[in-house]
């Protein structure tokens, strides 16, 4: 680091950029997922140095949240069908720093594997008591928590007898434009992974496992709900914000 963060040197303003984590992500051109064919750029991407525009992002507050946005089981008159689950975890950056007060948006299929969407017409029932949409903010320590029902798997037409493994879509802002992430959370030991191009598009096997929540018996609520823990890691700045790693590894709430 030859230039201090935010320093003005001569005529320029230098801001510390974020790590580039290409190895983690799936390629835009991935033939096993048919719809990528006409939707990936053919020209190589142009390197964008991180400037003030890329290291900032919208500071969104609680005004975006409805009272029951974090509880997908209580958004209607009655309760949805399915296995009630808590999904919780921590959002950090790759330096280990928690990402506090950031918006987390989720959407998912119901317990039968059907989305409340006009484009989803496969013969599985809709649930009048389930929309499948949630929002929350991480707390000061980067923690988030939803109550929902476990989504079902569903078929799609990518290849013969194609089924999506059960998943919950997650959208995160982080604190910089570079940190924006839309991804999917999967459940442990799903037997459908092997034939799923979304799963297989992530080149590194260890990276795939980072999309899987772990069953969290310690956080289940007796006679109420099972629990899964899923920690999410956004890009950091490649700097170590804490004096010792132990401080951040210890995280039993």
């Amino acid at each position: 680091m030859s230039t201090a963060p935010g320093a003005r040197t001569g005529s320029g303003l230098y801001v510390p950029g974020y790590v580039r984590d290409h190895d983690t992500h799936p390629p835009l051109d991935y033939s096993d997922y048919n719809s990528t064919a006409l939707r990936h750029p053919k020209r190589p991407l142009t390197l964008l140095p991180h400037t003030l525009t890329e290291v900032t992002s919208p500071v969104l507050g609680h005004e975006r949240l409805g009272e029951l946005d974090h509880d997908l089981t209580r958004q209607h008159e009655g309760e949805p069908q399915g296995q009630r689950i808590i999904v919780h975890g921590r959002v950090r950056d790759s330096d280990g720093a928690p990402v506090p007060h950031t918006l987390v948006e989720v959407w998912q299929a119901n317990a039968a594997g059907r989305y409340r969407h006009t484009g989803d017409n496969w013969p599985a029932p809709l649930d009048p008591y389930f929309t499948g949409v949630g929002r929350t903010m991480t707390d000061g320590e980067g923690r988030y928590r939803f109550l929902t029902v476990r989504p079902g798997a569903y078929p799609w037409k990518n290849h013969r007898n194609a089924w999506r493994p059960a998943h919950i879509h997650f959208s995160l802002f982080g604190q910089a434009f570079t940190q924006r992430l839309v991804t999917q959370m999967y459940f442990p030991d799903d037997p459908l992974f092997f034939q799923d191009p979304m799963w297989n598009s992530v080149p590194d096997e260890e990276a795939r496992e980072r999309m899987v929540a772990r069953f969290d018996y310690g956080s289940t609520e007796a006679e109420w709900a099972l629990a899964y823990r899923w920690d999410i890691v956004l890009r950091g700045r490649g700097q170590t914000p804490f004096e010792s790693e132990e401080e951040i590894v210890e995280d039993e709430e």
Partner: protein, 187 residues
């Protein structure tokens, strides 16, 4: 040096509409705000067909080139009425629209950057977002000096980053692939 490996991106899929659009998403400023401009465009695929299930997001500086964010070394400062972030799903014609204020000059490594808006596109069939930048057609001098635009060597490719003037603002079409393919950035 990364301590924690990052979480991979996955596609928004075909059903993003239940989860991501906000009623006020297209309005980075309220309708009727003096100086507000519409950024409108169509997203097209490699066959030239409109992409009717995409989501376009924008992020930008305020008209003074500042950000309401702690990373701005001049201090976070809210610009009254401006969210500076827009979000709009494409419609049945593949079109989006975001109402905003034109950003100012933003400080950059080599001096000022021409006014610009960072644009993300998410869609089914895209395993990660793509990112581009919108520049303004009337800023010819600033655009010619902008380090990001200058780094795009090919003149025709560079032109894909400059919006066109429209009666109520600007037109910024996005071509994901093929003829007139938009320049996308590795961010």
């Amino acid at each position: 040096m990364s301590t924690y490996p990052t979480t991979p991106s996955q596609t928004v899929g075909p059903y993003l509409h239940i989860g991501l659009p906000w009623p006020d998403g297209p309005f980075a400023v309220a309708e009727g705000t003096p100086g507000a401009v519409w950024i409108r465009g169509t997203v097209r695929d490699g066959a030239g067909e409109p992409v009717t299930d995409a989501l376009v997001e924008t992020w930008q500086a305020d008209p003074d080139g500042r950000f309401d964010h702690p990373a701005d070394p001049r201090g976070a400062r809210a610009y009254p009425g401006l969210r500076a972030f827009g979000r709009c799903p494409t419609d049945g014609e593949g079109s989006y629209g975001i109402l905003t204020l034109k950003p100012g000059t933003v400080p950059g490594p080599g001096g000022g950057q021409a006014p610009h808006i960072d644009v993300s596109v998410f869609a089914r069939g895209m395993l990660n977002r793509v990112v581009t930048r919108l520049y303004f057609p009337e800023e010819e001098t600033a655009n010619a000096a902008d380090p990001v635009l200058r780094a795009v060597g090919d003149r025709a490719a560079r032109a894909t980053l400059v919006a066109a003037a429209a009666p109520d603002g600007y037109r910024f079409d996005i071509r994901l692939q093929g003829e007139g393919e938009t320049v996308f950035f590795d961010i």
